[in-house]
């Protein structure tokens, strides 16, 4: 019988161990190496992204700062030009109602100068803040910067700075009208002989800056550059964006918002690099810095999806390769394990069948290596066992039938002897019982006979004593009953006395009542009844005395009655006891007479019975001795047969065991 679960267990074990060690040897170094390489590559890629972003931000910042410095420098140079100073002088001297005429001959020159230095607008402002000359139709000549709508404008702030510090400066961008691009003014003081003659304001449009910031080279598909300035409690984006072309000076992001965090930090003057969430809510990575000339924050960023695309691809490649390697190693391990474990499993199945008793198992030998040799040995062993077991089975069957025949005969004989022995033993026991009982009877009879004799004598004595006692008791009973009669008479008399006393008491009571009523009536009679009242009182006194006397008599009679009735009761009881005694004595005396007669009759017959019993007991003893000898002979025969039978049973058991062992094998 094969054992599939065991075979599977062994196979699993071999395959499992092979697989385990294959994986340990092949995969662990590979995994460590891959992890290290991946880490180095990832950090290199991250550094490349960072370098690109930081360098781009630095480059743009430098470019814009240089542009701002150049504009301020050009403005300062223009303001120092003699023609500008002269023009200001003329315009300041001209009357306030007709400045246009004074400036008309200088207007062409000023327009040319602005174009030549790449400024979109040009203003000349007097020291008082009044506009002396303007190319911008939105700000006509004569407008005051100190008051009116322009008082809080960036232009007014720039004018104040130039007037106070006497230095050229670039102001912030601001939308001057309802439409058009925002303007930033470069304000330069115009000095005439060391005295402030006016301020030259040169308007700049942001086109040039936007061109610089729209250059996304090296930033991929999603990279962009964002510039923004602080505007109250929000930041204002100052450039068109790649994903929102009209965002410039329109898109506002409140400070502290979850989105566009990096540009908020940049606008507040911080420099940095790191992951961020942009104004669209998209995750990205970027570098940011501050542009002091423009008071802008600058952010160069790229979406995380694009920036880290290479890293993600590298990760997927590593995981795919690892899985493929594990699969290959596992398949190889399983194939090797199968090659080794298959012949072993076959050998195990055959051994299991032989162990279970089935010797018909055959082996297919497919290989000629060590496992093939093992299978061949097992084949030989099974064949030899098959022959041996076959021969043993034949012999044991013959042996078994012989032993069974012998045992049957022996059993039969022993049964016969046993029956005989048992019968004999029963007879012996019965005879023994009879003998013992007879002896017992003889002894008992003798004792009874003796006792009967003694009883007869004692009964005769008792009877004589009882006759005397009977006479005495009779006399006593007679005198007791006469005494009782006398006491009864006394009790009767006492009752009569009591009756008389009761009558006297009632009469006394009536008399008392009569006397009371008489006294009451006497009182009602008043004076006439006084004498009668005395009589009534006397009557009452007599009645009271009578009542007291009669009470005494009544009490004495009662006491006497109690005493007599107690005596009568005692006497009655005693008399009854005496009579009972007389009766009992008579009965006992009669019984004793009967006993004496019976005992005398019995005594003679007992003698004869005892003699017969004795003879019977002797006969029973002789029979018993003969039977005992017979039973001993039968017992000895039965013992010998029993031994023989036991030997046969042992033989048969041995043959049975052998047969059972052999029968486990199937040939």
């Amino acid at each position: 019988m094969s054992n599939p679960s065991q075979a599977a267990g062994i196979r699993r074990s071999i395959a499992g161990r092979l697989l385990f060690w294959f994986l340990v040897i092949a995969l662990i170094p590979c995994a460590i190496l891959t992890a290290i390489t991946a880490r180095i590559a990832t950090s290199a890629l991250e550094r490349a992204v960072r370098d690109t972003l930081v360098q781009t931000a630095a480059g743009k910042a430098g470019e814009l700062e240089a542009y701002a410095a150049e504009r301020v420098r050009d403005g300062a140079a223009l303001a120092r030009g003699p023609s500008i100073v002269q023009t200001v002088r003329q315009l300041a001297a001209a009357p306030a109602d007709s400045p246009a005429t004074a400036a008309s001959d200088q207007a062409d020159y000023l327009a040319y100068a602005a174009k030549a230095f790449h400024y979109e607008q040009l203003l000349l402002i007097g020291p008082s803040g009044r506009v002396l000359f303007s190319l911008d139709p939105a700000i006509p000549v004569g407008t005051s910067l100190a008051a009116g709508p322009l008082a809080d404008s960036e232009l007014a702030f720039g004018f104040d700075r130039a007037k106070t510090l006497l230095q050229s400066d670039l102001g912030g961008f601001e939308r001057s009208g309802q439409s058009g691009l925002p303007l930033a003014f470069v304000t330069c003081p115009i000095l005439d002989g060391g005295r402030l003659a006016g301020v030259l304001a040169l308007g700049l449009e942001p086109e040039r800056i936007w061109q610089t910031l729209s250059d996304f080279s090296g930033l991929g598909e999603t990279g962009e550059i964002v510039a923004a300035q602080l505007d109250g409690e929000a930041i204002l984006v100052t450039t068109p964006l790649r994903h929102a072309a009209d965002a410039a000076f329109r898109l506002r992001i409140p400070l502290g918002s979850d989105q566009a965090t990096a540009i908020q930090q940049a606008a507040e003057g911080t420099r940095g690099y790191g992951p961020l969430v942009d104004y669209r809510g998209v995750e990205g990575v970027g570098a940011w810095c501050y542009l002091p000339s423009f008071r802008w924050g600058l952010l160069v960023k790229q979406d995380a999806a694009e920036a880290y695309a290479l890293i993600r691809f590298q990760r997927l490649a590593i995981i795919g390769l690892s899985l493929a390697t594990i699969l290959g190693v596992t398949l190889a391990a399983l194939v090797v394990a199968r090659t080794i474990s298959s012949p072993i499993r076959t050998a195990m199945a055959v051994a299991g069948q032989v162990a279970g008793g089935d010797l018909r198992a055959t082996v297919d030998i497919t290989t000629d290596d060590e496992t093939g040799a093992l299978l061949e040995s097992i084949e030989t062993m099974t064949r030899d066992l098959r022959g041996l077991i076959g021969r043993i089975q034949h012999s044991s069957v013959a042996l078994m039938s012989t032993a069974t025949a012998i045992q049957a005969t022996a059993s039969e004989q022993q049964q016969v002897i046993n029956d005989y022995g048992a019968s004999t033993s029963q007879a012996v026991a019965a005879v023994k019982q009879i003998s013992v009982t007879s002896q017992e009877l003889v002894r008992t009879m003798t004792e009874v006979n003796q006792m009967a004799g003694r009883t007869g004598a004692m009964a005769a004595d008792s009877r004589a004593d009882l006759s005397g006692m009977d006479t005495t008791m009779r006399t006593l009973a007679e005198s007791t009953s006469s005494f009782g009669t006398k006491l009864a008479t006394i009790s009767e008399r006492a009752a009569n006395i009591n009756l008389a006393v009761t009558t006297i008491t009632k009469v006394a009571d009536q008399t008392n009542l009569l006397s009371i009523n008489a006294a009451i009536e006497a009182e009602k009679a008043g004076e006439y009844g006084l004498g009668f009242l005395v009589v009534a009182r006397e009557i009452r006194r007599l009645a009271d005395q009578t009542a007291v006397a009669s009470l005494d008599i009544e009490r004495m009679v009662k006491e006497m009655q109690y005493a007599v009735s107690a005596g009568v009761m005692e006497m009655d009881k005693f008399s009854e006891q005496v009579r009972a005694g007389v009766r009992e004595i008579g009965a006992v005396s009669g019984k004793l007479g009967e006993i004496i007669a019976a005992v005398e009759g019995i005594s003679g017959r007992f003698g004869q019975v005892t003699e017969g019993m004795r003879a019977q007991s002797q006969g029973a003893d002789q029979i018993r001795e003969a039977m005992v000898r017979l039973a001993e002979g039968a017992n000895r025969t039965a013992g010998a047969l029993h031994d023989f039978n036991a030997a046969t049973v042992h033989l048969r058991e041995a043959v049975g065991d052998l047969k059972e062992e052999v029968s486990r094998f199937t040939i």
């Binding site: 008491t505 009632k506 009571d509 008392n512 009542l513 009371i516 009523n517 006294a519 009451i520 009182e523 009602k524 009242l533 009182r537 009452r540 009271d544």
Partner: protein, 161 residues
């Protein structure tokens, strides 16, 4: 003044003998439904029915077993009807069951006396007298029963007249 003495719970009591019509041996009374406990019922006296009161129960103690000296005192109570002041007032006769009714004593022998006590619910208590070493409590039979009970019984008294 003569006093008819009796005892309740072993203590001596008395009634003025001029209120007493007669002393009778103990009679049995026919019970009345819904009557107070001390109103034992009605009994026949010289062919007339009258109420029978147990003095012991009226005075608030349990009566002992009847003896020869337990008797019925027949008394007469004047009814204060309020009408016709000149006319002879209506009179109600009552039987009082008392114990030890065996003597008449004279109030003139009294050594000292105590004025009537006024106890709530017991205004029938009259003077107390000291006679022959004993303190005898007088009972005023006119106030012995509550007014409403007297009024109820008066109907019978009217018929009797």
């Amino acid at each position: 003044m003569q006093l008819l003495t009796f005892s309740v719970a072993g203590q001596p009591f008395a009634i003025e003998s001029r209120r007493v019509i007669e002393v009778l041996p103990l009679v049995s009374a026919r019970p009345l439904p819904q009557a107070p406990e001390y109103l034992l019922g009605i009994f026949t006296y010289r062919g007339r029915l009258m109420p029978l009161i147990d003095l012991a129960l009226r005075l608030g103690v349990a009566p002992p077993a009847a003896k020869l000296s337990t008797r019925v005192i027949v008394v007469e109570v004047e009814l204060d009807t309020g009408a016709e002041p000149d006319a002879r007032p209506a009179r109600l006769r009552l039987g009082l069951v008392a114990e030890n009714v065996v003597a008449i004593r004279s109030a003139d022998e009294a050594g000292s006396s105590l004025p009537p006590l006024r106890l709530p619910g017991a205004d029938y208590l009259d003077r107390a007298l000291r006679i022959g070493g004993e303190t005898v409590q007088l009972i005023d039979v006119r106030k012995l029963l509550p007014a409403e009970l007297i009024a109820g019984l008066a109907a019978a008294a009217e018929v009797d007249q």
